[in-house]
């Protein structure tokens, strides 16, 4: 059945190729929709100037983990731009569709733009929330999705853990802090969008843990007079990962354009578009230009504190892992 579908798709694509331009499929996660719509237009123009070739770029968005599974199950993504490297790792490990060392193929560990975890609070910050410790004060309710179903929520969890680890110096203390934190969580939505709905529409909770770019999007969408963004003293460097899928680009003959598509994300124009959509740019000059948007914060990486995503995943989020232990007690 799957093979049949693939054949139909291939035939359709072959048909497209003959009549139209090369078509790239970018399989991405939820909040990048507007960003990639703008970026695609810029890249199509750039590619045409470079090669004279007209291409079409289509996008697909959904939860990061779901998107990775779709690619494993046969969605013909030329490139993936997902929320965490572990999801691309899974495509390499489970689907064998790209080499295990994919992360070294592009600069900055294949993360052309970054973000971090910040607090979205009600306008004027009525509960006086300024740093992680304020989240476990009595009477404060925290909204964050379930890290076992939401890739984004794993960053929230690790950000909290990393803060406590840096501040109190031991894993035992960090575990205590995170345990206390999840006692303040009244609802665990299955995804980041669900959490935003709970916080914004349902009016539940005093603070939502959110990616910085999504906090900006929420503040813009629902009105800056309703919410305030609070940046904690320490947070995690969130590195969304990008990669081309070798198996697909070889089959479709799109390797060159797929690679160029990802490399262009590192160009000044690509970086500028990312910054406009509230991702922190890697390029120092573009970063300087948007310095007012992104407050300085002490950032740690998952590799530094947790020994990489695969290990963090196993220790904290797998069945029987730390998250399950502290929430099922």
């Amino acid at each position: 059945m799957k093979q049949f579908l693939v054949i139909v798709l291939l035939a359709a694509l072959a048909g497209c190729n003959r009549r139209h331009a090369v078509a790239l499929l970018n399989v991405s996660y939820d909040p990048t929709r507007e960003f990639y719509t703008e970026y695609n237009a810029a890249f199509i123009k750039h590619w045409q100037q470079q090669t004279g070739e007209t291409i079409v770029v289509t996008q697909s968005h959904g939860g990061s983990g779901k998107q990775a599974r779709a690619v494993i199950d046969g969605q013909l993504a030329d490139v993936v731009t997902l929320a965490l490297s572990a999801d691309v790792d899974a495509i390499a490990r489970v689907g064998h569709m790209l080499p295990a060392e994919w992360q070294t193929r592009l600069p900055d560990r294949s993360a052309p733009y970054t973000s971090t975890i910040v607090f979205l609070v009600r306008h004027g910050n009525p509960k006086g929330i300024h740093d992680w410790d304020d989240l476990i004060k009595p009477g404060v309710q925290v909204i964050t999705p379930n890290p076992q179903t939401s890739g984004g929520a794993r960053w929230n969890y690790l950000a909290a853990w990393g803060y406590a680890l840096k501040k109190y110096g031991s894993d035992a203390k960090a575990r205590e802090f995170v345990t206390a934190l999840y006692k303040h969580v009244p609802v665990l939505d299955s995804g980041a969008r669900g959490s935003t709905t709970t916080f914004v529409q349902r009016g539940m909770g005093d603070v939502e843990l959110s990616w910085e770019n999504e906090a900006f999007l929420a503040a813009r969408e629902f009105g800056a007079d309703k919410f305030t963004i609070v940046v904690p003293s320490i947070s995690v460097l969130a590195e969304p990962a990008v990669a081309w899928i070798d198996r697909t680009v070889q089959r479709k003959g799109t390797a060159a354009v797929a690679k160029a598509y990802l490399h262009y994300l590192y160009s000044p124009e690509g970086q500028d578009i990312a910054a406009r959509h509230f991702y922190r740019p890697r390029d120092p000059q573009i970063a300087l230009k948007y310095a007012a948007t992104f407050p300085k914060v002490q950032l740690f990486t998952v590799d530094e504190l947790f020994g990489g995503w695969t290990k963090a995943q196993k220790t904290h989020f797998a069945s029987g892992g730390v998250f399950e232990q502290i929430t099922t007690k």
């Binding site: 983990g65 599974r69 899974a90 490990r93 489970v94 379930n146 076992q148 179903t149 939401s150 890739g151 009244p186 609802v187 665990l188 939505d189 299955s190 669900g194 709905t197 529409q201 349902r202 009016g203 539940m204 995943q313 989020f317 797998a318 069945s319 029987g320 399950e324 929430t327 099922t328």
Partner: protein, 276 residues
């Protein structure tokens, strides 16, 4: 085949049975067997750990309990709805009839978001209920409400044709023979309807067991408290633990199949009992 074939008076048995088996295999058995094949990669210890941890057990209790309750409530109120729609005519009847199908047609995520909006503590209904001390959204009761919503049409649509067949003359006969209204309902009408009610209940129950889209919005998904089994399956998939996910799915399948079989047997028995 000759007309004197002793097998059946109806022609085409071989062809239609062959078609039936092929169709069921393709549509039902093939995907299900894939689940069993995936699970076969686990040894007994891993299988047990995947399907019997306290968190999963809590989810079975909620899923089966809430689905059973939703099916039972719909069996009662769905029967009344079907009765009204078949037996009486009133203005706007077609609209009410169409409303019953709405839970069928509505994408379940839309249903979940709508229900949560209404029953959340700042929602139009949830607001009043919360003042009375009843919290619906983000509780087990909310799960039950969502399941009741999605499974309602199954009871109503199962009962309508059966009620249509049930002639009012039977009730009149019962009345002329001296039975009171309650006697007529309990001794005459309900026994006739019982097999259909059980079927409707079984369909509603099965539908509720598998429901995911609407429940995840209203339940709050707290481990040990408001997690349903399909959510745990998604949780496993999210970790690329395909085998763990299918292990839970296999347990659900086996349990659902056993329950549905039991209900079918029950229904057959009651039918035989009453038709004699």
């Amino acid at each position: 085949m000759s007309a004197s074939s002793p097998r059946s008076v109806l022609p085409g048995f071989g062809l239609s049975l062959g078609f039936t088996l092929t169709y069921l295999s393709l549509i039902v058995l093939l995907p299900l067997s894939a689940a069993f094949v995936r699970t076969a990669g686990l040894n007994w210890h891993e299988f047990y750990a995947a399907v019997a941890s306290p968190r999963v057990l809590a989810a079975y209790r909620l899923s089966f309990g809430a689905s059973f309750a939703a099916g039972a409530v719909n069996a009662i109120f769905g029967t009344i709805v079907a009765w009204v729609l078949v037996r009486y005519s009133f203005p706007g009847k077609r609209v009410v009839d169409a409303l019953v199908d709405l839970p069928f047609a509505l994408p379940t995520a839309v249903a979940g978001i709508a229900l949560t909006t209404i029953y959340a503590e700042n929602g139009p209904v949830g607001h009043f209920l919360a003042e009375g001390g009843l919290r619906v959204a983000f509780t087990r009761f909310g799960v039950f409400v969502a399941l009741t919503f999605v499974s309602l049409p199954f009871v109503v649509r199962t009962l309508q044709p059966v009620l249509g067949e049930l002639e009012p003359e039977i009730e009149e006969a019962s009345a002329t023979l001296g039975a009171g209204r309650w006697q007529t309902i309990i001794r005459v009408i309900l026994p006739e309807l019982f097999p259909a009610i059980v079927t409707g209940f079984a369909l509603a129950f099965a539908r509720a067991l598998g429901e995911y889209g609407s429940v995840v919005f209203i339940s709050g998904n707290m481990p040990m408290k408001t997690e349903i089994v399909p959510l745990l399956i998604m949780t496993k998939l999210e970790q690329y633990d395909y085998r763990g996910a299918t292990a839970i799915a296999v347990v659900m399948l086996a349990a659902s199949f056993a329950l549905l079989l039991l209900i079918n047997l029950l229904q057959k028995r009651s039918r035989r009992h009453h038709r004699v």
